[in-house]
């Protein structure tokens, strides 16, 4: 039996964190923790072990781009896939996220199928599924 993957959901809106958490659970990924911004997320990532990050972009204190950048600069964290789930729909933001190393990009509002597809695609690509 494969190890259960652990997700970190980063979003300043608790409603959205719950939605993503429930959707991941429905897709078979029940082990998840939450963070309300990039600062808290980075602390949790450095103090615990995670396999996947789902992050919003527009957040206070440290936004999703800054979090992504910090993750990719950290030797212990840079392997982590980061899926951006955001309302930011400018093409330049999407391109910037990809160039910074985001594993995927979902624009809100999204469907359960979209989240499931992207997560599974990334995990398959990384050999984690």
């Amino acid at each position: 039996m494969s190890k259960e993957l652990r997700f970190l959901i980063v979003d300043d809106f608790s409603t959205m964190r719950r939605i993503v958490r429930n959707l991941l659970k429905e897709s078979g990924y029940a082990d998840a923790d939450e963070a309300e911004d990039g600062v808290v997320a980075l602390q949790k990532l450095r103090n615990s072990t995670f396999d996947f990050v789902v992050s919003d972009i527009n957040m206070p204190n440290m936004n999703g781009f800054q979090l992504l950048s910090e993750i990719k600069k950290d030797d212990k964290l840079k392997h982590l896939p980061v899926l951006m789930v955001t309302a930011e729909a400018r093409k330049e933001d999407i391109v910037m996220a990809a160039q910074q190393g985001a594993a995927g990009y979902i624009v809100k509002p999204f469907t359960k199928a979209t989240l499931e597809d992207k997560v599974n695609h990334i995990l398959t690509k990384m050999g984690l599924k």
Partner: protein
């Protein structure tokens, strides 16, 4: 007999009074006009003095944007409410079906348990309940997904509130600047405005710089080799 025409005298007096009234009105109008002109000049000079003229232009541009943002909120919350009510209706229909089928199969089992099983009524019931439960679960997921309006409208509301706060702050500065010298003035702190990211696309039609759905995101990333 007097040659003076009383009607003519009365007309002249009325005419004179009208002329006087007209003069007074004209003088008042001129005075109001001059005052308005002075106020406008004062406002213009104050705005320029404070470096606000450009900001006023920005506000003029942002206010219609605020209006469309508020319309977006109204639309999104309306759609979410509609979606939830529709999903609840459909979930309740499935629930009613399960309830009535449970009663029906219960009666069949009480009447003749062997026949209920042998004729397949019990297995059919189990199959039907399984299907209905799955549909109810899908409706519940849709109801949950409809709550994403909270995040999207929250971001838009924050932007509108930010605009209102900026305008208020600048107007307070203007008031301070134009207050009489002896008027008590309370110092206000001037927090630098930190622009947020763009947030949800309120109206993406005709804007080539934004995507409007997930397929456009996927196409863009694919075109870049990601």
């Amino acid at each position: 007999m007097s040659t003076e025409n009383p009607t003519s005298t009365s007309d002249d007096a009325a005419h004179g009074a009208l002329n006087e009234l007209s003069d007074v009105r004209l003088a008042t109008a001129l005075e109001v006009h001059n005052q308005l002109g002075a106020l406008t000049r004062q406002l213009h000079d104050s705005l320029n003095g404070l470096g606000l003229a450009a900001k006023v232009k920005d506000w003029a541009g942002e206010l219609p944007d605020a209006k469309s943002r508020l319309s977006y909120i109204a639309r999104l919350t309306g759609e979410a409410a509609e979606k939830v009510l529709n999903q609840v209706d459909q979930a309740k229909a499935q629930h009613d079906f399960i309830a009535s089928e449970t009663q029906r199969i219960g009666a069949l089992i009480v009447k003749d348990p062997v026949a209920a099983v042998a004729k397949g009524h019990v297995m059919n019931f189990i199959h039907d309940v399984e299907g209905a439960s799955k549909k109810v679960d899908q409706h519940l997921t849709e109801i949950m997904m409809a709550q994403d309006f909270h995040d999207l409208t929250g971001q838009v509301i924050a932007k509108v509130v930010n605009l209102a706060a900026t305008i208020e702050e600048q107007l307070v500065l203007l008031l301070i600047k134009t207050a009489p010298p002896d008027a008590p003035v309370k110092q206000v702190s001037h927090e630098p405005y930190v622009p947020a990211l763009d947030g949800p696309v309120v109206d993406g039609s005709g804007n080539p710089d934004v995507v409007t759905d997930q397929s456009q995101v996927d196409d863009l990333l694919a075109s870049l080799g990601f």
